[in-house]
């Protein structure tokens, strides 16, 4: 396993954080600039590139037809995958998704799924027989930290904009033809923080993540709900810190939602 981060850089980030400063000059609760592009992959039912500072991820959705799960005969399903491509950072490796990527995908998935934004019953084609199965995969194209939020934004926009494939009379997909959209009833977004040198930093970069004692992500909705939480990395948070982060998350995600609404 390759590691290109030097211990001295980490120490510098920690020292700065103790003085409430960040290496890129941001305030502790300041998000990096977000750029959004959509529709680049014509073969996808929806696709989005989100650039968050230097972090860049691409998400795409393919809808397929399958059989329902035995215990949910009238529901389709959605699965989310994440991959840190070796082209995105010197430290990323080829091969099966590691624990980091599995956690990343599952937390992004939960923030959306648990918000009940997607009505799985609407993904049913014929009860007990045929349902839509959506595969949303996002890939890191340049890795500079906070893949949770970048992946969450890219996934949400991709679902928002996705076209549903058209079905023929035998309920088979007609390639490249679409009918209607996949509608979301909520706009859940993750907001991620790390604790460095005892301070809470919003939207960490790669080096800040490597310098962190602990990480916290919270999924919030526009109507005041928490839909997911995840504490990561080996340190701890106090309940006070968690409460403060949740508060910032609600405010910050509201700004992003406004930017998304403009697309």
């Amino acid at each position: 396993m390759r590691s290109t981060i030097l211990e001295s850089e980490i120490q510098k980030v920690i020292a700065l954080a103790r003085e409430e400063k960040r290496i890129d000059g941001r305030k502790l609760d300041e998000m990096r600039e977000i750029k959004i592009e959509t529709g680049m992959s014509e073969n996808a039912e929806g696709s989005t590139i989100v650039t968050l500072g230097k972090t860049k991820v691409i998400a795409g959705l393919k809808m397929d037809i399958g059989t329902p799960y035995p215990d949910n005969q009238d529901e389709g399903s959605i699965s989310i995958g994440a991959e840190n491509l070796p082209l995105a950072h010197a430290d990323y490796e080829s091969g099966r998704p590691g624990n980091d990527e599995v956690e990343l995908a599952r937390v992004v998935d939960r923030a959306i799924r648990e918000s009940k934004a997607i009505d799985f019953k609407k993904l049913c084609i014929i009860e007990g027989e045929k349902v839509w199965i959506g595969y949303l995969d996002f890939y890191t194209l340049n890795g500079d930290g906070n893949l949770f939020d970048a992946g969450s934004i890219a996934s949400l926009i991709t679902f928002n904009n996705a076209k549903m494939p058209k079905l023929d009379s035998e309920n088979k997909i007609i390639l490249h033809e679409y009918s209607g959209k996949l509608k979301l009833s909520r706009q859940p977004l993750l907001t991620t923080f790390v604790k460095v040198g005892g301070k809470i930093l919003l939207d960490p970069t790669f080096i800040e993540e490597k310098s962190a004692e602990a990480r916290f992500s919270v999924g919030t909705t526009e109507d005041g709900f928490i839909s997911a939480m995840q504490k990561g990395i080996g340190g701890s948070f106090t309940f006070e810190e968690i409460n403060k982060m949740i508060e910032i998350a609600f405010k910050n995600s509201e700004k992003i939602r406004k930017q998304i609404a403009k697309i």
Partner: protein, 261 residues
């Protein structure tokens, strides 16, 4: 099971299995159950039954995984094929991978890893029966196994699930409650003496107000679990308050232990 829509805990004043809202399922812990391990524990938590074993500090393998500054803590969460209603396929799935990761991260802070450079501490937890809450059961058991192994720790880790079901906030959801239409599941793990959070996840829809209530219930329940852990360790060592011994480790950071190779 998802059809129990008429259940309303607010009205009913008690839960499907008769528990009070803030009542844990029965917990039983036996320490030292796996003779080969350096430390071990068997834990029953309602229907959940889990084994935890600790091996180490021992030589880190493969060698390139060793850290010259500290012990590497490896946690593996697994379930037997018959521990769930529908047979689980062999090999770790994505859920197992994630839980292994968060359990490892929840234990990392409490262990004085810097005392054992170049070694590994292997923590293995195996679920042999389950009914909601197996991850907090495993974290609780693993913490006991580490104490049993004599690994120097800042504090125990005590965990529980808090959540919401049938219109009420409740402690320690069981499977029927997890299947409630408004179910929220929040596994929480803390260092019981400092009340620091080392494990925290949430699935479902919760308001900030509810979260404030949940956090109080979490601390209280985790501390209840801590008492049970201390009793179990006491029972094992018989010769005094083993739980206290663990807490005392916080003061005595100089404890050294021979590393087995």
């Amino acid at each position: 099971m998802k059809n129990e829509k008429k259940v309303d805990y607010k009205k009913d004043k008690k839960r499907l299995d008769g528990r009070k809202m803030d009542e844990l399922r029965p917990i039983k812990i036996d320490v030292g159950v796996i003779p080969n391990a350096d430390g071990s524990a068997y834990l029953e938590w309602g229907q959940n039954k889990v084994y935890a074993a600790v091996y180490g500090p021992r030589e880190a393998l493969p060698k390139h995984s060793a850290d010259p500054l500290k012990a590497v803590v490896k946690v593996e969460y697994r379930m037997t094929s018959f521990s769930v209603p529908q047979r689980k396929r062999p090999g770790p799935n994505r859920r197992d991978q994630e839980i292994s990761k968060v359990l490892g991260e929840a234990l990392a802070k409490t262990i004085f890893v810097e005392q054992f450079p170049n070694t590994e501490i292997g923590v293995y937890v195996e679920v042999v029966d389950s009914n909601a809450g197996s991850r907090v059961a495993c974290l609780t058991a693993a913490s006991c196994a580490l104490a049993d192994a004599g690994i120097p720790m800042r504090d125990m880790v005590s965990a529980t699930g808090i959540g919401k079901a049938f219109n009420e906030l409740v402690v320690d959801l069981n499977k029927d409650e997890e299947d409630a239409p408004d179910a929220v599941d929040i596994p929480i793990g803390i260092l019981p003496n400092s009340e620091e959070i080392v494990l925290l996840q949430l699935d479902g829809l919760l308001t900030i107000k509810e979260w404030e209530q949940v956090s109080k219930m979490g601390v209280k329940s985790c501390k209840n679990v801590y008492e049970i852990q201390k009793q179990a360790l006491k029972k094992k060592f018989e010769l005094g308050d083993a739980g206290k011994k663990i807490v005392e480790l916080k003061e005595d950071k100089t404890v050294k232990k021979k590393v087995k190779k």
